[in-house]
């Protein structure tokens, strides 16, 4: 709607999918959680199922817009629009979500790694629509952290970061996901840093190499911030997100 109000786009035809009931809803499936593309952001934020199984998504949604925009805005809409600073597609990248799309030839499933083609550009074909997003929750008690910097609460962030950690009872990390968003045109997994976290102890992490990887991203430049400032933020925010994930991680056997 804002893009039409700005006259950035002027579609010949507009199809209202708001009343397609099957496109909305949060379902628990055998192998995870499926969120319909038309599910309102307010409903995802209020969902106890999401909060208990995908706490990172709940945490990020607190930063998405305001109560009036979350009442109408949908998770699928944000994931198709793909603003580089948008929290929801970024969390899909952090959680390795799968995008279930439907077209004239049937359906296909696109992994998050292939979903982000570029700035505002998803892998969705011209004749396809996004049906749902599938998440595989991390182990119960996993650590999660989120940080972003925006000029005002609810604005699109200048930059943000997310971290997920799984570990054993001894506090050793067995699985990690680290992500920067709003820095490059697409959300960026810090895969080198993720590997270095494995087998480290949650209380004595070597954080500097991780901050260094985030600070070396090919940052965008715009009216809000220079590339240097974005790189600086990327480092600061990944440190905060990771530190929060260490705090929230419960030590499991």
């Amino acid at each position: 709607m804002p893009m039409m109000n700005f006259r950035v786009i002027a579609p010949d035809h507009l199809i209202d999918i708001n009343r397609v009931a099957n496109l909305a809803g949060i379902r628990e499936a055998v192998d995870g959680i499926e969120i319909g593309a038309m599910t309102r952001q307010a409903d995802v934020l209020a969902s106890d199922l999401v909060k208990s199984r995908l706490p990172l998504l709940t945490r990020a949604l607190e930063h998405v817009g305001h109560i009036q925009t979350r009442a109408r805005g949908t998770i699928g809409g944000s994931c198709c629009h793909l603003d580089p600073s948008a929290e929801q597609p970024a969390m899909c990248a952090a959680l390795d979500a799968e995008f279930v799309v439907v077209g004239p030839g049937g359906g296909r499933v696109i992994p998050a790694g292939d979903w982000f083609e570029g700035l505002l550009q998803s892998a969705l074909g011209e004749q396809e629509f996004l049906d749902a997003i599938r998440f595989k929750p991390w182990a119960k008690g996993h650590g999660y952290g989120f940080a972003e910097y925006a000029r005002r609460h609810g604005d699109f962030a200048i930059a943000g970061a997310a971290a997920l950690l799984e570990g054993g009872r001894d506090g050793r990390i067995t699985r990690a996901a680290l992500l920067s968003f709003g820095v490059e045109p697409r959300p960026k997994r810090l895969s080198g840093a993720e590997r270095t976290l494995i087998d480290q102890h949650v209380d004595s992490l070597e954080i500097e190499p991780i901050v260094a990887e985030a600070s070396a991203l090919d940052a965008m430049e715009d009216v809000h911030s220079t590339a240097d400032y974005r790189r600086h933020l990327a480092g600061v925010l990944i440190r905060r997100a990771l530190s929060e994930a260490c705090t929230t991680m419960r030590r499991m056997s």
């Binding site: 709607m1 804002p2 507009l14 109560i67 009036q68 925009t69 109408r72 609460h153």
Partner: protein, 159 residues
């Protein structure tokens, strides 16, 4: 352009109308129905002045097309009180100096009206987050926040 028929409930009254599909709800309320209480500021979903309540939820009337209100219940600021008989929230705004120029006020009122129905006992921080999508250029927000808190505590003491 083809007009569409819509049937909806507006401020408690059933209405039928023909709407041009390109018109957003805010323009429809103001231009077609003459309900100029709803104010339009930025028209791209940032300022919150145009907030109305649709099916119980506060929404931006500039980000919703008028054709989409078919079958819904719409509430605008005109549904609150009248001069001399203000609603409790409106009276609290007046008492606490929650407005100066008044441009943002309809959006603030409708946001808080919807919010206080679902969150009857908010903290100050809750109220500040609830109105974070409404921009006021005059008051510095303190009076608005106090008005919301007063309304909530008055309601609580009555029940």
């Amino acid at each position: 352009m083809t007009e569409h028929s819509v049937t909806f409930t507006l401020n408690g009254e059933r209405r039928d109308a023909r709407v041009d599909p390109r018109i957003h709800l805010g323009d429809f309320l103001r231009h077609s129905l003459g309900l100029t209480g709803t104010h339009l500021g930025c028209e791209h979903g940032v300022c919150g002045a145009c907030t109305v309540i649709v099916d119980g939820a506060p929404v931006r009337s500039c980000l919703m097309l008028a054709v989409q209100i078919d079958g819904t219940v719409v509430e605008t600021v005109e549904s609150l009180g009248k001069l001399g008989a203000l609603s409790p929230l409106q009276q609290a705004f007046a008492t606490n100096h929650g407005l100066q120029c008044g441009f943002c006020t309809p959006g603030m009122l409708m946001t808080l009206e919807a919010y206080l129905r679902t969150t009857p006992a908010p903290t100050e921080q809750d109220v500040r987050i609830a109105i974070s999508g409404n921009i006021c250029r005059c008051t510095g927000y303190d009076g608005i926040v106090q008005a919301a808190l007063d309304t909530a505590s008055t309601k609580a003491s009555r029940t």
